[in-house]
Amino acid sequence: MTTLPPPGKVKLGLVIDLDTCVGCHACVVACKGWNTENYGAPLSDQDAYGADPSGTFLNRVHSYEVQPEAAPAQIIHFPRSCLHCDNAPCVTVCPTGASYKRAEDGIVLVNESACIGCGLCAWACPYGAREMDAAAKVMKKCTLCVDRIYNDNLPEEDRTPACVRTCPAGARHFGDLGDPDSAINQLVTERGGFDLMPEMGTQPVNKYLPPRLKDKAPEFDVLAPYLTPVTEARGFLGWLDRTLSALPGARD
């Protein structure tokens, strides 16, 4: 079984804002496109135009419906990908050392040339974040676009994961969660970012920002002052005349 590196200072990861994610799947497809062309084997598709199409994706978006007891039902869009856990069970379970966590930035990767396709890591991952590629027979997972974020061939502003670069709503943030002063760590603090399934002891690096409270009762009186009817001797027209006469430019 494979050991984890000593805890590092830099912990690169994603912060995903569940209050903002509209569930558009842009991240899913940008990821598929980039990672089909880059890092390791392409993400293959089977029966692509057939009756039962399927393929490898490193990032998927699920939509869940929530029914509060005394409020209207809500839908939460939930993007799911590798959380680059500090205590990554997918690494420790790997019999060949193919699954590993980078010491310098904490990214969890699969060394495809050492992967025997046994699938143990996928079983060990409580998040379902790994997918065996049916064509290449190797385990595929989010690389945090390790081939983008340091890539000198990309303009500096593009050295960010493909999913983050493409997200139209800006619901995905990338940065160093090991640095307490980083912008995304501050976002986590401000918005109460949380770990997914902390009880599993995986210590995920990625964080999710919770949806803001919806369908709140108004924090102001609905009837007054905002909707207080104008009361004049002549009703609305009386109010109209009085208000108009106070506007600049009146005759007298």
């Binding site: 842009a26 497809v29 880059n38 392409p42 209207p72 390790v146 890539n151 502003e157 909707l227």
Partner: protein, 939 residues
Amino acid sequence: MTHHQPTLDLSPPVSDEIRQTTCYMCACRCGINVHLKAGKVAYIEGNRNHPINKGVLCAKGSAGIMQINAPSRLRAPMRRTGPRGSGQFEQISWDEALQTAVDWLKPVRDTAPEKLAFFTGRDQSQSFTSLWAQSYGTPNYAAHGGFCSVNMAAAGIYTMGGAFWEFGQPDWDLTKLFILFGVAEDHDSNPIKMGLGKLKGRGTKVIAVNPIRTGYNAVADDWYGITPGTDGLLILSLIHLLMQAGKIDLDYLRRFTNASCLVNEDPKSPQNGLLLRDEDGKPQVIDRATGKLAPWDGKGVDPDLSATWRHAGVTHRPVLHHMADRYLSDTYAPEAVADVTGIPAARIRQLAAEIARAFDDPVTLEREWTDFRGLTHKTMTGRPISFHAMRGISAHSNGFQTARALHTLQILLGAVETPGGMRFKPPYPKPATAHPKPNSKVTPGAPLGGPHLGYPHGPDDLCLREDGSPARIDKAFSWENPMSAHGLMHMVISNAHAGDPYRIDTLFLYMANMSWNSSMNTTGTMQMLTDADAEGNYVIPHIIYSDAYSSEMVAYADLILPDTTYLERHDCISLLDRPICEADAAADAIRWPVIQPDRNVRAFQSVLCDLGHRLNLPGFVNDDGTARYKDYADYITNHIRRPGIGPLAGWRMGENGLQDGRGTANQGQIDSYIANGGFWQAHVPGDAAYFKPWSNAYQAWAVKMGFYDSPQPYIFQLWCEPLRRFQLAAEGEGNRQPPDHLRARIAAAMDPLPIWYAPLSDARTDPDDFPTHALTQRPMAMYHSWGSQNAWLRQIHGQNPLYVPTDLWERHGFSEGDWATVTSPHGQITVPVAHMAALNPNTVWTWNAIGKRRGAWALDDNAPEATKGFLLNHLIHELLPPKGDGLRWANSDPITGQAAWFDLRVRIAKSDPREACLPDHPALGHPSHTDNSTAAHKP
């Protein structure tokens, strides 16, 4: 194993080359970077500099790479060999294909050009295709707006000279409250998501009004699950409450709207109910400085909002008094509308109070500007309330008046073209009066007098023949729907089949899937396309179709002109057409062949240039008889629409070199666009950024850019006179009179102030028998039919259940995996169901454009799109249920002709599970599309 890290190449080469063009995976026209490796497309991402998407890209856009290797791509021109609908074709040469088209089209043009019906679907070259149709001389041209969102567009233009999406946008940076009415998950795509992201980033409140709480509505902070078709009533109730509380911007209303204009109230006047006019025809206000009548636009005039004018025993009151009369009435009290809208009165008050609160928190920019009356304003102040709305309110038979009601609300708040409100995108604002009027007079062998589509201002502008019958095959601009600014594409096949108002010879369609998801009554439409007369000839004798893919419509055409994909051709996204501008910039863009087609296909627009030459159409041939344009790129560069104005506004040639907006043709123009990333933009000056309709600075800039040739300041039309002119005719005034059977409907529907009436089909459908509303929405990751052939996107949306709200679900005893029959007054379908709680309790819905006909789009005959995907279209008729008068009443808005898709009512019942949805049409034969390469593997 101890920790071991392999050495990685962290800077692999990304691609050999990036070519920047414009996306076409939906209608939003984002800029894309197409990465090529060894000449093949390797990756597509958003263009960071592009005004529309600023680098981001949606799922569809990124999946474009799978569109250009899709097996459904058509390979060569084809002629039908089997019966229509069989999908049996033979490949022919382009010469043969074009000669066939000429053999059909030439005699028609020489004798009766109206017998060509040329309609284009979701294309982005309407200013070009309409020019071709004008030159040909048929009155029967339109694009798809009539079955899309013409209510939204027309109500916006008539009311305030612009609408949502391509015409205007919320002031995302300054708004303090954003309310979304009837917006599914598209239109527009990335800009709305980017805007919502901005609002979420600073915690600005988002409120959604929609029967369905998905997508944008799911992230909204508050949700009003309204009953479909009642948005207008809710809005009028909000107006009631806000007027009652004095939360309306009086200074804005008196200066910038016709609220201050006096209405002619003389019952004996032929102008009764129109605005009172002076001898120059100018609407009159009372000037506060003099207390006397003055023209609305007089220099220094200070319009009064309340003063009346008494003359010859009649008191003429300003528009605002009429509005007070109407909207302060108890008819619109929250308690009176709660049951119909499904929104409790307390919640309506809450929504109004949210608006009032933002109204009381104005935004002021320290920017001086001068209005058209010459008054200089030290600052720019606005009420930071913004709205967006689309098909949810538009696709109803009361959609025009509902959209008018929404714009009226915005205007009463002073939240249009002001900081924090809604902002127009150049070349809008532009008043309805600055648009053309529709042309329909046919002369065999000669062009039409002008554009087909436009904005009528009264009965004189209708497109009628001498006997008073509709001049157009879709009956646009007739008494049935006088202000149908985008035509009625959904009625073309039905009317042509019925010979009402006449029969046609050739139906010529581009990118319009009329035998499937773009028609109401899909099964009936297939029948109409295949029906023969007594002699065995098809009732619609010839059908020519151009598409890039083997859509369902291909099988129903006689001649196929295969188009290229969007990465293989030139296009221009023109200011003459549907521009890509932003509130702060005028912009246009191109597409160019970033790859070359590997099939015997041609860009449709280039084919039209060729056909124009072969048919000898004016404007498409030179004096020596040679072709005017060798292809579409040549047209884009060299066409001159009016002096100095061409399809593209960037890099035109001036006396001193290149310039923006106006200028002569520049042979290097397309190269300049390519060098600039595929687009051009010119920024609106800061003192012209708001108050555009009234700002001298904006008007001068607009003239300089060539949007119009002289300043066009105008005021918003709360009182919409064109409506009143049709109403006057219905009351018997004037020489051009509607047929008697339409009088009452015109008089009722065409009210000059916004009204609400129940969807028209409700009157002919027993609500007890059909108690449930049925809607469709387009998913964010799929657009129309194109997504289903896309190997990646179909893995996200490959089937569509009917979503059923909790109460109905429990009442019918449904459980997961169940199926249901869904019955409307018109038809029945049997489909899978799924439970959804975040839904109006009387509404069921499904995703549209996922369901496919077996055999279409080069998918397996048993593809889930065909077996577990379905269309609600089968339940919707293009006509209202007959009422025994022998007349064909269109299922459309009586003002604009907008297809009333969302008026649908159904009942549902549990059924036995099935292998495939009903109706289950037999598989289409596979036309000769590209060989199927089943492994998408690596593009």
